[in-house]
């Protein structure tokens, strides 16, 4: 056993995984700083509700679970820095932060990345109207804001979030015009067979699905939103069937919520240079990790959905196991202690992991849509790059995402390609017949999100500027 090393640990992300890991790490006696951009810990699922939402949204597991987690965090020795975002990092893992108190840096430490997931989108004509939101965004708006995205909503995309969002709309008194699912009914029922392994979650998804059907809400499987047109009162939405493109269904709604599953947020892990691989089932890039979240860098761990989408139950277990593994790596506990502390969580993880992985193809059911995106459709909304522009660059010889970005500006905007990367990759692999690994991913650049210029400059005099010596004449 190495001699104990009590140097600091920084956890990025205060969701279920990050908070759980931070608390467990500090119980091992490590000085832990937890950083989260929100004003309260909890992440996406356990996000703290607004006072209005506390009154209007029926009590639920997410509120009570979040409150418990925040209570435990407050009672722990973890230093919590809320309202703080990581906008950059150095090769030695110095973290550049910005918060209400301005810019600051955290010196190199062992970093546990627990920054969760990002929603995936596939473009279609009209998708950039503000009347269309993501499924995850709509869900948070309703659960934590107590506000409907619209009185009548079309819920579209893929994965379990479809049914949970539709359920939330009804719960707040809204109307669901239709549910449009890229997955097939058989896929869902096949999943039902896994019920025994994760009863709570699967039972809930299937019971919502049944409820919605009973409420007479049309559910289109193997279908997708193929266009959205703005009208005076909202949207006119066209639903197309994947296997019968000529079959169309029209719906009017005030808004639509659309999302094609989740993917790990990899901006930080990619910047840190850890190894990643493409998960074919999930259709996304994820850091290469072992069961405890160890990566190709000894000073960086990844836990929760950031290590691959598995949902909240897995996130908590992963957070625990990562913390104990880090404690073992630091020589704070023996391998025997690690084994006994993690025996139960690791057994549960194995079981839940199997179910969660079965869920991935359902979340990724829209994968075939990107390759067929219409030429005029905008793929990169930040830089307004159309599919035609991308196809022509690919034709000129851009065989990977970074050359495509360099030649078209796709992915250069404020979102750093979060919205367009999957579509761009599918276009490249579809045209060049190369693998997602060959197509690669957009190089992550700092800052990770736009920074007010004055937060970098501060107050200064001209004479404060350390002007380098003149360039040669």
């Amino acid at each position: 056993m190495p001699s104990p090393d009590f140097s600091p640990v920084t956890v990025i992300g205060g969701g279920i995984a990050g908070s759980t890991a931070a608390i467990a790490l500090s119980r091992h006696g490590l000085p832990v700083t937890l950083i989260d951009e929100q004003s309260e810990a909890g992440g996406q699922i356990f996000r703290a509700p607004s006072p209005y939402a506390r009154q209007t949204v029926p009590p639920n597991h997410e509120f009570s679970g979040g409150d418990t987690l925040r209570g435990k965090l407050a009672a722990s020795d973890v230093t919590v820095r809320l309202g703080t975002r990581v906008w950059g990092l150095s090769p030695s893992l110095t973290l550049d932060l910005i918060g209400s108190d301005g810019m600051s840096q955290l010196p190199p430490s062992t970093v546990v990345v627990a920054n969760g997931a990002t929603e995936r989108f596939f473009p279609f004509p009209g998708w950039t109207t503000p009347r269309i939101t993501g499924l995850a965004g709509a869900s948070i708006l309703m659960r934590n804001g107590g506000t409907l995205p619209g009185q009548t909503v079309v819920v579209a995309g893929s994965g379990p979030l479809l049914f949970s969002v539709a359920h939330q709309v009804l719960e707040l008194g809204g109307k669901v015009a239709a549910i449009v699912d890229a997955g097939s009914r058989t896929d869902w029922f096949r999943l039902g067979a896994m019920l025994a392994l994760d009863p709570s979650r699967m039972a809930q998804a299937l019971s919502w699905m049944g409820q919605l059907r009973k409420a007479g809400i049309p559910i289109h499987h193997r279908s997708f939103l193929s266009s959205a047109q703005e009208t005076e009162s909202g949207l006119l939405l066209t639903v197309s069937e994947m296997d019968h493109p000529q079959r169309r269904h029209l719906y009017a709604a005030e808004t639509a919520a659309c999302g094609y599953g989740l993917k790990p947020s990899t901006l930080i892990t990619r910047s840190a240079g850890v190894q990643h691989h493409h998960d074919a089932l999930g259709g996304y890039l994820e850091p290469v990790t072992d069961v405890a979240g160890r990566t190709s860098r000894p000073d960086l761990y990844v836990t929760g959905d950031a290590a691959g989408i598995r949902g909240m139950a897995v996130a908590r277990l992963r957070g625990l196991v990562t913390a104990h593994a880090l404690a073992q790596d630091r020589g704070l506990i023996s391998s025997a202690t690690y084994e006994s502390l993690t025996r139960t969580p690791r057994r549960q993880l194995r079981r839940l992991d199997a179910v969660s992985r079965r869920m991935l193809p359902l979340m990724n059911a829209g994968r075939e849509l990107a390759a067929s995106v219409h030429d005029d459709t905008i793929v990169c909304r930040c830089e307004r790059v159309t599919a035609a522009t991308l196809r022509s660059a690919i034709h000129s010889g851009a065989k990977d995402l970074n050359q495509l970005k360099a030649w078209t500006r796709c992915g250069m905007g404020p979102c750093q390609g979060r919205m367009c990367e999957d579509s761009a990759r599918n276009l490249v692999t579809g045209t060049c017949k190369n693998t997602p690994e060959d197509a690669g991913s957009f190089t992550a650049r700092m800052p990770f999100f736009p920074l007010p210029l004055t937060s970098v400059t501060g107050t200064f005099d001209y004479s404060d500027i350390p002007l380098p010596k003149a360039a040669p004449l």
């Binding site: 851009a398 030649w407 500006r409 250069m412 920074l451 970098v456 350390p466 380098p468």
Partner: protein
């Protein structure tokens, strides 16, 4: 001149090593003259300096001796449709270089005079005149140097345009294949070995145009020239309403500032980051980010409303005398170099064309760029 007529020659007439603006322009003009040309890059083409530069077409920051070349290069960018086959969107604007202190004003006047002598139409103007040209600048300036010949080019459009032009000219492009050795193959040209490929490439002539990676390759040809690698920083803002319409800089050359058609403002000027040529990895130095951006905000105070969208670093090469390397590396005129050109994106097309002309038998004046100027005994350039 041998003109091979078959598609995939066993031996290329010329192989260009390094697919940036220097190599690609040389390749283009050689191929158009009928040579069978291949161009090799260790990564995708135009991804090093030529893909990440600021696209400033300024004379204010150009080395005085290179002003004539920069003027020609700038003209070529503005007429890219004529020789490259498509308009890449270069824009002619005026350029202002500013002085805020007495020392800077002296420097400004001195540098403007030297550049004027080299043919740059630069004049010193009063603060009032400068403000009438560019209303958004800090009224606290003491003087400005005005040049009617300035402008910028959206760098991102250039790589794809070259790819199409090269394809049309019949250049064979070999990407993601680093050149590992170049050996003379029995007096019959060169054998070029590539990383990750079994097959060597053969050529009668080679052109080295590997930018910041030149030093080692020059050594293969007996030229021991230390190449310094600059790690230049660029900062781009989110789009904002128009705050300037010219290219702005300061007397000592450490700022370049312009707003593109889409509204984003690009802040550069050669502030340094950390990096290396081994893996091309780079890192921002926070103090230099702050210094560069402060300078920009000082020059255009309205930038205080901007959001910084991205910061990046690119590798630029420099010789000990900060003058280019262009010309033959061997006495039998079969190996050549083109690179280390200050403000090399501006003059790149012209420099590449010059070398192509030299290879094709013309005799442009390349004396100041001769690689042998660094050799102790100028007549002994050896061959690998």
């Amino acid at each position: 001149m041998t003109v091979a007529l078959h598609e995939k020659p066993a031996v290329y007439d010329a192989v260009i090593v390094g697919a940036g603006v220097m190599g690609a322009t040389t390749a283009l003009f050689l191929a158009r003259a009928g040579l069978n040309v291949a161009m090799i890059d260790r990564q995708d083409m135009f991804r090093a300096a030529s893909g990440v530069n600021a696209g400033t077409l300024t004379l204010h920051m150009t080395r005085a001796q290179l002003i004539p070349h920069a003027i020609r290069g700038r003209e070529m960018w503005l007429n890219s449709a004529e020789w490259l086959g498509e308009d890449v969107g270069a824009l002619a604007t005026p350029g202002l270089s500013m002085a805020f202190t007495e020392a800077e004003e002296d420097l400004l006047r001195q540098r403007a005079r030297v550049r004027q002598e080299m043919g740059a139409p630069i004049e010193i103007v009063s603060p009032e005149r400068a403000i009438s040209i560019e209303p958004g600048i800090n009224p606290g300036l003491r003087a400005a140097a005005y040049c009617a010949l300035d402008g910028h080019i959206p760098t991102y459009r250039v790589g794809g345009a070259y790819a199409r032009a090269l394809k049309q000219a019949g250049v064979t492009l070999i990407e993601n294949a680093a050149v590992e050795t170049i050996a003379s193959s029995g007096g019959q040209g060169y054998e070029i070995r590539l990383a990750n490929r079994n097959q060597a490439v053969h050529a009668h002539r080679v052109v080295l145009s590997t930018g910041a990676w030149l030093e080692k390759m020059l050594g293969w040809f007996g030229h021991d020239i230390p190449i310094r690698c600059l790690i230049n920083q660029l900062v781009v803002t989110e789009t904002l309403s128009p705050v300037m319409n010219s290219v702005l800089s300061i007397a000592n050359g450490l700022l370049s500032l312009k707003q593109f058609a889409n509204g984003s403002v690009l802040i550069g000027g050669g502030w340094q980051g950390e990096g290396n040529i081994r893996d091309g990895g780079t890192r921002v130095i926070p103090e230099n980010l702050q210094g560069n951006v402060r300078l920009a905000q000082h020059v255009v105070p309205q930038l205080n409303t901007a959001q910084i969208l991205r910061v990046w670093l690119g590798l630029e090469s420099e010789t000990p005398d900060a003058m280019p390397l262009i010309g033959p590396l061997t006495h039998d005129d079969n190996a050549f170099v083109v690179g280390c050109v200050h403000s090399g994106f501006t003059s790149g097309p012209y420099m590449g064309r010059l070398l192509a002309e030299r290879i094709l038998g013309a005799d442009p004046d390349l004396t100041a760029f001769d690689p042998y100027r660094f050799s102790s005994s100028p007549a002994t350039g050896s061959q690998p």
